[in-house]
Amino acid sequence: MSEALISARGLTKRYGDFTAVDAIDFDVAKGESFGLLGPNGAGKSTTMRIIAATSQRTSGTITILGRDPEEHGPQIRAHLGVVPQQDNLDTELTVTENLFIYGRYFGLGKRFIRTKIEELLEFAQLEEKRDVKVDALSGGMKRRLTIARALVSEPDILMLDEPTTGLDPQARHILWDRLFRLKELGVTLVITTHFMDEAEQLCDRLVVMDKGKIMAEGSPLELIKTYSTKEVLEVRFGSDRNKEIAPTLRAMCSRMEELPDRILMYVEDGEALLEEILNKKLHPTTSLVRRSSLEDVFLRLTGRTLIE
């Protein structure tokens, strides 16, 4: 691994009796797109805030660009662009004014910021909204503006906390496209998400978090390879029959998960298994063969689905 921009060892954050982040270790390399994947309350946002030098750890160590956030908070924040989970744009100001004043918070010169604004408006596809107040923007536009705002200081690391939560599919795809572009430009991304597809699309490497702990680490592909099979067969027999048939099915595959509404069977060849089931005259009401995803990895690691 090349030079680590962020390096955490035994990182822990407690609020009273509650341990939000429980002794985690991770490194983020320069130019990498690093993901923290897990359900709500897994400790992802807390970890993000510690990296962003806006929350102090209880114990363990962390360095960002070789510095300790407890001693060099302002200097570390100067390196970062932060996109929080909830937009906190300045609703009293217009799109350009938001970008301008944010640059001023970093102490940047007016001329520099004005040139930068043109570049950012183009990047965020907001040129036509430049003089519009923030409240009049759609959810997707607000998100893009928040990302553009985070880029005004030319950060080394862009921190994105649940970047597409609450957006419609089209807006998500536009946003992913923009983030992909940043990745190509060599910006280091740190992303939290509870969407599998988002993690698969954007992250070179990720850690799966649950209850403050890191459960697994690797590239999306490695994680799937290690913790799941190539394919998954999803079958439904109706909620009454699921229970009755489950033991028969269990004998037919290496691993099986019974969810409230369906049964997941983990195999190398889904079609072949389905044929076998049909041959036994067990007629599922619906069936689907698909490739394993990070959702399956999470289920395997925690026994729970990500979005409950």
Binding site: A52, A53, T54, S55, Q56, H72, G73, P74, Q75, R77, A78, H79, L80, V82, P84, Q86, N88, L89, D90, T91, E92, L93, T94, E97, F100, I101, Y102, R104, Y105, F106, G107, L108, G109, F112, K133, S153, E154, P155, D156
Partner: protein, 273 residues
């Protein structure tokens, strides 16, 4: 290395660099931009209010009251209340900006959270917001003086000092107001501020000398910041400088320092802990 990093690194070895980035200016700049597109109604009412009081009490009730004794001087009632009303409007202006506006930015728009994700520190935010709040006090004071001077209510040149005095007490109220607001979480708690303020101003000697009260009440009022503010402006208005004036100044110095201290601490605890 980007500009932002170079700017932050330049301060890395200063004492208190985690709390203050030396850029309260940027917060003021933000308020100035926001002002361009904001509504002028609350600004205007804050200015009109003391003028209305002056008309109603000074020229209305003042006809019945006649003169008031202040120290060894006897003065017209309208002249007596003018500095009190000036002080009151400066304080009200400072409080409006440092309470309701701050509450909104703290809890609704999450503006401070955004600011503190940058290299800015909590003292930058506190100072910037408080200084902005006292600008309103300054503009009210100037406007009030501009109206009362032609009416012959200004006794002498020293009354010009009422402008810095008004700014000074506005500073005290703004930092205290922001400190208290930063601890409030609900609109009900915020409503308390208004309930406390009105009697504080009505009974703190703006409309009549507090010597009319029984001793215990007079003593109680003398502990209130509103009384010290009104008395300070009245002292400079009439050129009555004595040890009391120094005490008022000291009172507000303490208020400013305490307000800044608690606001900074609270912002740090809320957004950086």
């Amino acid at each position: 290395m980007s500009n932002a990093v170079a700017i932050a690194d330049a301060r890395a070895n200063r004492v208190g660099h985690q709390l203050y980035a030396g850029r309260a200016r940027a917060i003021l700049e933000r308020s100035l931009i926001a002002l361009r597109s904001s509504t002028w109604v609350p600004v205007a009412t804050g200015f009109v209010e003391p003028v209305l009081y002056l008309l109603a009490f000074g020229y209305g009730m003042g006809e019945l009251i006649g003169n008031v004794t202040l120290g060894d001087k006897t003065i017209d009632y309208t002249v007596f209340i003018a500095p009190g009303l000036l002080a009151t409007s400066a304080m009200n202006g400072a409080i409006y900006d440092s309470t309701w506006n701050v509450f909104f930015k703290l809890n609704e728009s999450k503006l401070y959270q955004g600011m503190l994700a940058t290299p800015l520190g909590p003292l930058d935010v506190a100072l910037g917001e408080i200084i902005w709040a006292l600008f309103r006090g300054l503009s009210y004071a100037i406007a009030f003086l501009a109206i009362t001077a032609p009416l012959g209510l200004v006794p002498g040149v020293s009354a010009v000092l009422a402008i810095p005095a008004a700014v000074f007490i506005a500073f005290g109220f703004a930092s205290f107001g922001m400190a208290i607001t930063s601890y409030f979480k609900t609109y009900q708690q915020m409503g308390m501020i208004n309930i406390v303020l009105l009697p504080l101003f009505l009974f703190s000697g703006s409309l009549y000398p507090i010597s009319v009260y029984p001793d215990w009440l007079e003593f109680l009022i003398q502990l209130m910041p509103s009384w010290h503010g009104i008395e300070l402006v009245r002292d400079v208005w009439f050129g009555n400088f004595d040890s009391g004036t120094l005490l008022h100044i000291f009172y507000f110095l303490v208020m400013i320092i305490c307000g800044l201290y608690f606001t900074t601490r609270r912002l740090r605890d809320l957004f950086m802990r």
